[in-house]
């Protein structure tokens, strides 16, 4: 994390303060600061969040793409993280500077989301072996205050929660290869079920005590920290020791219990926030928004619904054609359609009157 250097007296003041359960900004050891979460910050992303916790400021956007699953996991969708430390946070992130930090954060996130319980990966797969949703979670760090890892993990969970995944209405078989057909209605989407997703709690060790939600000063006078991924049920999904300190075995068990308790509280607050954002979105669109989560049609249901026939797709992209599952596209049909929309008239292309 970006370090600021303090004099020894300041460090001693903080360490002794933490020992007496009074921190530099008046909080007790286990108090969490309030955070502001703002939704829909990036309009051309499927879900975007901006989290600001005192000095840490992070923008997270998720974009959903159509990709193909890995060979060894044919039935699962894919979830990719990319952390980008912008030089706005501190001059040392200029050019290649921030790579070391973003790699560690990426590693921790992928390891805590890799267990299947976190996100229901099976529902992200459209056609096993062939097509699946690839959710790209891009994290942009604008300001690097203390507790960066917690804020990013919370942001990821919130962002995945409100990410709108377009719905596959049907399957089109051309030359025997099933290709998914997406809905054209902007307001028809489904949400991911994020109740199981983990939240990371970092416990920097200041003096002999663990501290929750450390400010940047406290982090610079702590030698190391434990990053523990906790789900809403209190299970631990991943533990990582970062930094150069070593822990007594006894204190490890105590800190994990502590993190589990704090993680549950964090999860509860976050889930409420996600629900509130979704309900706001509901008022925006038609009131009969489907309750809860639409269960996406599995591959078998999609295929059963379509009577399979080999269909030749016209080579010109269908710009204005409506979607008929069994429509036959002949060339004259398309040209007549495009003339209707005077696509070939001169003024569209060369730009003069």
């Amino acid at each position: 994390m970006a370090e600021i250097n303090l004099s020894d007296e300041e460090k001693y003041f903080i360490i002794v303060g933490v020992a007496q359960d009074i921190r530099a900004d008046g909080r007790a050891r286990l108090d969490y600061r309030s955070k502001e979460i703002e939704a829909n910050v990036i309009t051309n992303a499927h879900g975007s969040i901006r989290i600001k916790l005192a000095e840490t400021d992070v923008i997270i956007a998720t974009k959903v793409e159509l990709g193909s699953p890995d060979e060894d996991k044919p039935e699962l969708g894919k979830l990719e993280f990319l952390v980008d430390c912008s030089p706005l946070a501190s001059p040392e992130f200029e050019g290649r500077g921030g790579d070391q930090l973003s790699e560690t954060i990426c590693g921790i996130l992928t390891s805590s989301y890799s267990t299947s319980g976190a996100i229901d990966m099976k529902s992200l797969c459209i056609v096993p072996e062939k097509f699946c949703y690839v959710i790209n979670v891009d994290i942009l760090v604008l300001q690097c205050g203390g507790n960066l890892l917690d804020v990013i993990a919370m942001g990821c969970k919130a962002c995945l929660g409100i990410c709108e995944i377009p719905v596959v209405t049907g399957l089109r078989f051309d030359l025997g290869e099933p290709t998914p057909v997406f809905t054209t209605d902007e307001y028809e989407f489904t949400y991911l079920d994020v109740r199981e997703a983990p939240v990371v709690v970092t416990l920097p060790r200041v003096g002999r005590y663990f501290v929750i939600d450390a400010t940047i000063e406290e982090e610079s006078c702590s030698k190391g920290k434990l990053a523990i991924g906790v789900t809403s049920k209190g299970d631990i999904t991943s533990i990582d020791k970062i930094g150069r300190c070593c822990y007594q075995l006894r204190s490890l068990a105590a800190s994990i219990k502590l993190a589990a308790k704090v993680g549950q509280g964090l999860n509860k607050v976050l889930l409420e926030k996600i629900e509130s954002i979704k309900s706001q979105k509901k008022q925006l669109i038609n009131p009969d928004f489907p309750e809860g989560y639409i269960r996406r049609k599995t591959y078998k249901e999609l295929v059963a619904g379509v009577d399979v026939k080999i269909v030749r797709v016209a080579d010109v992209a269908t710009v204005f054609a409506e979607e008929f599952p069994t429509a036959t596209y002949s060339k004259p049909y398309l040209t007549e359609k495009l003339n209707q929309a005077n696509f070939f008239s001169s003024d569209w292309t060369s730009g003069e009157d």
Binding site: I15, V16, A19, Q20, G207, R208
Partner: protein, 250 residues
């Protein structure tokens, strides 16, 4: 910073608490909160209770002795929370210094000598790499008598050459490129170590003349090439020159 609260305000702190002697109020260094600490009986302190006596084979992390003002961790050992631990693999050796009432517990290792980084005050042998008006840049190859794996960079400034006429000395007339010199590390600078050759025993130990022969010092400021009799001015180190030892018997 283990300052102990004097006895008169002990009553203030412990009104209700039963006064059992053997405990005193000491401000805990880490916590900053007065804590009751057992009074260590000072009498037994002088005796060294040692887990590992002299000459035993030791692994890093093994407890050696209890540390207090009379015992210290020497080289190859480190002290943590008043206990001396071994830091390297080797044999324990305990040296007593009666006049300072101090015994030093250290771990020595035969075979490859452990790495010693040039610290302030250590004498260092180095070879001069290049010279400018203000300073001579050289590569440190040995620290005291331990050879380094990899050379470290050091510089000698013009003012640090001699104590006598400090500003009359010049780099050109005291060091030549390629000379092997003895110097003392004065400071750990930004990129290179700052060294000085102000004492008499420091300076050029051996230099090769333009003709390529080992030069012999004539007096403490000039050296002569035995073959071409060319004279070059150097700041010669007042140490017994190896050639003189060789040429003594003849």
């Amino acid at each position: 910073m283990n300052s102990s609260i004097s006895t008169e305000n002990k009553s203030v702190a412990g009104e209700g608490i039963k006064e059992d002697e053997g405990y005193e109020w000491v401000i805990d260094e880490e916590e900053g909160v007065p804590k009751r600490k057992k009074i260590e009986d000072r009498t037994k302190v002088r005796v060294l209770n040692v887990q590992a006596n002299d000459g035993t084979f030791v692994m890093p992390g093994q407890k050696l002795a209890v540390a207090n003002e009379y015992f210290e961790a020497g080289e190859g050992a480190y002290e943590f929370a008043n206990v001396i631990y071994a830091a390297i693999v080797g044999k324990v050796c305990i040296e007593k210094f009666p006049e300072q009432e101090l015994t030093v517990v250290s771990v020595k290792r035969k075979g490859k000598a452990p790495f010693i980084s040039p610290t302030i005050g250590s004498i260092v042998t180095c070879t001069v790499v290049n010279r400018t008006y203000g300073l001579a840049r050289c590569l440190i190859t040995h620290v005291e008598d331990v050879e380094l794996d990899d050379t470290m960079r050091g510089i000698i400034r013009r003012e640090y050459i001699t104590d006598k006429n400090r500003d009359a000395a010049e780099i050109q007339s005291s060091f030549g490129v390629g000379d092997i010199i003895l110097a003392r590390v004065v400071g750990i600078g930004e990129g290179d170590f700052i060294m000085s050759t102000s004492e008499d025993a420091l300076g050029v130990a051996s230099a090769t003349s333009p003709a390529g022969y080992q030069m012999i010092p004539i007096d403490w400021t000039t050296m002569e090439c035995p073959v071409s009799k060319a004279r070059v001015s150097r700041k010669v180190a007042k140490i017994v020159q190896p050639q003189i030892l060789k040429s003594e018997p003849s």
